[in-house]
Amino acid sequence: MHQLRDKYEDRDVEFLAMYVREPHAGERGFPQYRDHETFEHKMAVARELETLKEMDLTLGVDDMSQRQHAALGNLPNMAFVVDKGGKLVYSNTWQHAEDIDAALAKLVTADDPSHPAEPTITTRHLPGHI
C-alpha cells in the first residue's frame, strides 16, 4: 500500500486502512494475540500493527460491533477502490496491488487525461495483510 500511496500522492487519491478483528488470534504463529475484549484493547493492538508494519497510512479502527466490517463483507483482507462519486469501482477478497494500481490508474487518468497514469506496480508476492 505504501508503494501505491507514494505513486499516487500527487493525485486525488486517499488511502485508508481499517483494522478489523483478528482472524487467527491465538494460533500457532500468534500466541500473544487474543480476540479483542474491549475497544481500548482493539485500539492498542491496532497501534501495535502500525509499529510492526511501520505503517505510514491512516489506520482506523472499526468498533466492537464490527457492523461496518460486516457491511463490507466480513472478510479479513478485503480491498476496495471508490471513485469521487462514491461509487465502488473495484473490490477483492484479497489485496492485489496490481489490480488496485490498475483501478487507480484508470480513475486518475479520467480525472486528467493530459497526465495519464499507467499501472506500474508489480509484486512477486504481497502478504495478505495490510
Partner: protein, 87 residues
C-alpha cells in the same frame, strides 16, 4: 472493473500463497475454510457491495484519535480502503 476473486483464491504471497500456513493451526484453518459460514462470506462478497453501487459510509477512529468519515471524500478524492489485522 476487475472482478472480485472467488472462494479460496489463495492470498498473494510466497509459496504459492501458502506462506500463511506456517503460522496457522492447520486443523482449525481447514475446518474454517470448509465451513458454511466462511464459504458464505466469499460467495456473498460480490453482492455485498456490488460494483458500481454507492459505497457505504464508513466512520472509523484512527490510531491518533481522529474520526475519519469516508463521506468526506465525496467529490474530493478517490479512495482505497483495505481491511486487515496482525494475524
Amino acid at each position: 472493473m476487475a472482478k472480485p476473486t472467488g472462494f479460496f483464491k489463495r492470498p498473494p504471497g510466497p509459496i504459492g500463497g501458502l506462506w500463511s500456513w506456517r503460522y496457522l493451526n492447520w486443523l482449525k484453518t481447514l475446518k474454517m475454510i470448509n465451513s458454511k459460514r466462511v464459504r458464505g462470506y466469499y460467495e456473498a462478497f460480490p453482492a455485498t457491495v456490488p460494483l458500481g453501487s454507492d459505497f457505504p459510509e464508513i466512520v472509523l477512529t484512527t490510531t491518533d484519535g481522529r474520526t475519519i468519515n469516508t463521506r468526506n471524500f465525496l467529490a474530493q478524492k478517490h479512495f482505497v480502503l483495505v481491511t486487515g489485522a496482525i494475524t
